[in-house]
Amino acid sequence: MNKKEVFKLAKGFRGRAKNCIRIARERVEKALQYSYRDRRNKKRDMRSLWIERINAGTRVNYGNFMHGLLKENIQLNRKVLSELSMHEPYSFKALVDVSRTAFPGNRPVPPTPKKQGLSILV
């Protein structure tokens, strides 16, 4: 590419990388490589962000929740589920209940009262 294109892409870079062609050319090449790589990484990062948000929104953990939805053949994707968990809590609670009934392992076990043992006599 010629210099004009390089400087156009180097806007906002730090120091001499936005002014001097030798340095700018290296930095711009690296920036283009990063953007190629990150167009693919962005999809992964978004999905992990949705999963983190869903996990925070349910009191059962994410794995059991998704397994319950899978059993009920609810095919909402993670993006929609994360938006529901943030902005539509009542709908999301309904989904969590569906998942809980579908997958019996989800039901939180109430803490069993501990045996008192001999200390009760002391």
């Binding site: 983190e52 009920e72 943030m86 009542y90 609670k93 309904a94």
Partner: protein, 284 residues
């Protein structure tokens, strides 16, 4: 979430504006249908969700509920809005017009453009605006550290400060809460850690390593024990390094540790930190 008071708006502040929540007529109907499906499914979980989804899989994705038999059976003259003069048509609009022309009357709204020109909050992942993480509007929590296992307590504190218990969690934004720890000198550790756990620090000069045990540090500066534990569980970031942002540094300032039972933050009206770890209390 307080399920007993539905009057409280569940939306974050940036989405509470009415003009942003004005829905397209299309999405409004779909939202009501989705709500109906969601609420009904919780009642009749056995049959309705799977049957609904099976029905959807069989039909074509474009025209919801539209059977192809009806299109072929009806003649072009009976369909309202079909164009007969095809000399001046643009190709890309042709398909759209055909869809609109062959759709039944009650589904026309799916294929017409609406007049909403605001941001697309329904298809884009939500990112918090500045008003969603104002420091003055954050929750404050209080924990009593008496006889609580150090690591488990620090883990729950770190989760609440980082904001990972909220569905609005964003890694680049501080959405967490403030946590106050009182009675810090009474925190417990199991086993022989009280005399064997070592805290090291190095001044940078040769021979400048200082080693202290847990109880020596507890007698000297009791707050440092909890601070050290929680700082190790929060993201690290100092202002001097521009690779690590200063989010970690700011998060650590949201932890307030005090020796003794009282704290100066009564004005913030802190509530009790909800702890879900069953083994956090020392078994005596």
């Amino acid at each position: 979430i307080n399920w007993t008071s539905p009057a409280r708006k569940p939306y974050p502040p940036s989405l509470n504006k009415e003009h942003q929540r004005r829905r397209l007529p299309a999405e409004e109907n779909q939202h009501q249908m989705a709500m109906a499906y969601a609420t009904s499914s919780s009642v009749m979980f056995a049959s309705s969700p799977s049957s609904l989804n099976n029905n959807n899989n069989n039909r074509s994705p474009v025209l919801f509920g539209f059977s192809t038999m009806a299109a072929s059976a009806s003649s072009p003259k009976n369909i309202v809005g079909a164009r007969t003069n095809r000399n001046f048509q643009i190709r890309c609009e042709d398909q759209k017009v055909q869809q609109r022309a062959f759709a039944p009357v009650e589904q026309r709204w799916m294929f017409t453009d609406s007049d909403f020109t605001g941001p697309d909050v329904w298809n884009k992942t939500w990112y918090p605006k500045a008003e969603d993480h104002v420091n003055t509007a954050k929750t404050w929590y209080v924990v009593d550290a008496t006889d609580k296992i150090l690591g488990r307590l620090a883990s729950t504190i770190a989760i609440h400060i980082r904001g990972k218990n909220l569905p609005t969690y964003t890694p680049s934004v501080d959405m967490g809460a403030f946590v106050i720890v009182v009675n810090a000198e009474k925190v417990a550790v199991s086993g022989k850690k009280r005399s064997q756990k070592l805290y090291r620090r190095h001044s940078g000069r040769p021979g400048g390593m200082t080693v202290e045990t847990f109880d020596q540090l507890q007698q000297r500066i009791p707050e440092r024990i909890i601070e050290h534990a929680v700082r190790g569980m929060l993201p690290k970031g100092r202002v001097s390094s521009h690779f690590l942002n200063k989010l970690g540094r700011d998060l650590f300032t949201h932890l307030k540790v005090y020796v003794g039972p009282d704290h100066p933050h009564q004005a913030q009206m802190p509530m009790d930190l909800p702890i879900r770890d069953k083994r956090i209390q020392r078994q005596t």
